[in-house]
Amino acid sequence: MAVPLIKISDLSYAYPGSNKQAVSHVDLTIDKGAFVTLTGPSGCGKTTLCRCLNGLIPHFYGGKIKGTITVSGLSVLDHTIGELAEHVGFIFQNPENQLFALSVERDVAFGPENLALPREEIRERVEWAMKVTGVEGLRERSPYELSGGQQQRVAIASVLAMRPEILVLDEPTSSLDPLAAQNLFQAISELNERLSLTIVLVEHRLDLLSTLTDRVIVMDNGHVRMDGSPVEVFNSMDAQLMGIGVPKIVRLYHALGFRAEKPPLSVEDFAQYLRGLRND
């Protein structure tokens, strides 16, 4: 049975000094272990929605909020950012804004140290977090001398050391080159599968995610406009009209006039499909 880990009901929010609702009447349920990709045009409200999951909204940003948000059984409005941080890890666009210690190991240890955990437990969590993100080899290095991709992994390790059930990532690859982005998505997918970590990922680059994510949510103008499997979303005309980044091979598939139930999500699938047509 699927267990809802995030439950948002009729959520509306406006930033201080603004009358425009950045998020408007959003209802959303996300199950434990899901890998959700949140996308939509710039300014559609996706980053705002993410900030509601760890309490940055409303506790840090202020503003007018209506509706309810429950994360891991906690009402976001009634719990502090600190309390929520043990359940929701947050990764920003620019990892440098998130890393500050002189070594990778110190950075990863910072969160659990602040929970005042026993020494042994801290050590265990740090080792575990570095291991699952593949940064053990970098433990003595300064985060500032690492590549962008390595820095993002260290940022993920430092939030995982808090043992959250949910990882929220806001365009984590925007400053990475394509190969580094692909590797990071792969690493996130492995965390999702091996640890049943629930992933909420904000991204425009859907071509690299189409085979990894199991649900795509499209926002526009503060509203959730579409919500379904990658196949459902990519196949809908609305997605193309809204100008979301439908992968090139899906575009080619549609341009060729193929309109089956299931567009190919990977290059391999499409190649297979074309071979089939040839043999018929």
């Binding site: 080159d177 992968p247 575009r251 290059v267 040839r278």
Partner: protein, 271 residues
Amino acid sequence: MIRTENVYFTYPSGVTALQGVSVEIEDGEFVAIMGENGAGKTTLVKHFNGLLKPERGEVFVDGRNTKESSVAELSRDVGLVFQNADHQLFCETVEEEVSFGLRNFGFGDKVVKKRVDWALELLDLRRYQKRSPFMLSGGERKRVALASVLAWNPKVVVLDEPTTGQDHGQKERLSQFVRQLNAQGRTVILVTHDIEFVAECSPRVILMSRGRIIADGPAKEILTNSKLVTEASLIVPQITQLFMMLGDLGLPGDVIDIYEAKRLINDFVGG
């Protein structure tokens, strides 16, 4: 024309960013400089308007050696739009921002007004004329930075990572826009690792890795060479991957354009 001859450059931190770069870019060309983070792309284009001077080697812009010319003089011909618009914007209104360069180049009030109006219209910024650039979204700030450079009509426009943080619709508009600039006779130089964007624009591609140029040729030739592309930490375009996979069926492997792909597959399925 921009010409670099065996350029070396090391930052004060000790990082050597360019290691012997020689390249020629003719007037009216459309060029994408691609490569991994830290490959030296931004360092190279900062040599084109004299912002950086080579530590060894020479850079010539229309025959002038950049070591003997000022940034102000070179910028008149080579306009550089930075990756992070915030490094470029500082005025209180969008209008002031866009007129700043023009005033510095000594244009009179009438010309300034005319050119600012033109640039604001071109980039769909008219309604933000009196607003602070810092109140705008990231994508809009990028457009302000671009407008402020285009306003003085440089012969060469260099855009550093224009697609980062832009959604799909914005990228499509940007792609049309840069092609239009080029069609009007300007030299357009893009610094990017957005391979799908480059596949759509199909410019000349200069591929860099670790401070060196590792390949230089038409997009169709460079982007479909998986060995080179991987060396520069990029990924071959999806359409090319598809055709490479079907190579045994007699389809060509060097396809980057969706229309060409469509035609080839139609022939293939039909025949």
